[in-house]
Amino acid sequence: MLAFGMGLTGAAFAAESWRVDYDKSRIGFIARYDSIEFPGIFERWRGEFLFAPYALNKSKFDIIVDMASVNTRSRDRDIGIRSEEWFDVAQFGKASYLTKRFERRPDGTFEVVAEFRIKGVTQPLRSTFSWADVGDTRRLRGRVKVDRRTLKIGTGEWAEDAIIGFGVTITYDIVMRK
């Protein structure tokens, strides 16, 4: 994905702190049920996003998600997802995504390496993202694939059965304003 920061000035070499527009931003996932993709979002989360392509060491994407706020537009499915074998929200109410570092790729795009913690499991995640500045709005979009089995999402019989696909794509689309 290409990065294009048209609004950068000399003063913006430092990482800028932008205000997240939570109404327009989305954090969610794409999973598969019986071979068909279905999306889900988290309705409650908080994040801190600082990004400047020339001050990567001061940049960060830190997100805390309320796992009980999952919404896949299906009441029955959401009840199941919150249960012990899946998200186990009773015991693990929060998931976190905390940046470790940013890396610039040879093609000019960026990658973020983060520590992803969910359901008591900590895993490093590496994802590429795109960002764009339009006027006073900045938009960050990225996705990263995980195997739910490594995160203990879907235990017991679910860990062996792919009717709920093992691969899940985590997505984020963050809109920020100055």
Binding site: S35, I36, E37, R75, D76, R77, W158, I164
Partner: protein, 191 residues
């Protein structure tokens, strides 16, 4: 033109006669009978099964067979419009003819209503749908809890009605064939 005429002649061979149902009507009847009985049993088993991957698979099979029954019901209706009806067996009373005709009409309505309402439940509950994992089937509705509840009520009521009408249909057929010795089943038998 002669090609079309020959095709029509070929199809006419499959029509029912005055004494028995034709091969297409017979095939549709027994395939759907088996499918419907399997669906009734599967439906009871799957709703009572503990939440698990196996339960989801039972639902997936139930939904796929349900869609098949719905498609075959339309085929059957279309064929019924084209086909002729065998004569009623000798000695069948007017009341019994009326009862049989009513049961048949009821079964046709329920063969459409049961799978359609099931399809609505699936859509309104926000679940995807495919046919035996081969292709996705479009949703009839957007996810909606109120419509889901309505569709579930309709589906359950229609299933109970189907079970009752089917029982009457089977009982009537067996009674007339064995107790009244009318040979009724031979009209719909496989050979």
């Amino acid at each position: 033109m002669s090609g079309i005429a020959n095709r029509v002649k070929d199809v006419m061979k499959f029509r029912s006669t005055s004494s028995r149902w034709g091969p297409i009507a017979v095939a549709l009847h027994w395939v759907m009978a088996l499918a419907i009985i399997a669906m009734l049993v599967l439906g009871v088993v799957m709703v009572n099964y503990p939440m698990s991957a196996t339960k989801l698979k039972l639902f997936a099979v139930h939904k796929s067979i349900g869609l098949t029954v719905l498609a075959l019901a339309w085929v059957r209706l279309a064929w019924r419009c084209f086909d002729r009806r065998p004569r009623w067996p000798e000695g069948l009373s007017g009341a019994h003819k009326h009862a049989a005709r009513s049961a048949h009409i009821g079964l046709y309505i329920l063969m459409l209503l049961v799978p359609l309402s099931g399809w609505c439940i699936n859509a309104a509950s926000g679940f995807p749908l495919n046919w035996f994992g081969l292709f996705a089937v479009p949703s009839l509705l957007s996810p909606n809890e109120t419509l889901q509840a309505i569709a579930e009520s309709v589906h359950l009521t229609a299933v109970i009605a189907l079970t009752v009408v089917l029982s009457l249909h089977v009982t009537g057929a067996l009674y007339h064939h064995f107790a009244r010795r009318s040979g009724l089943l031979r009209r719909m038998w496989l050979w």
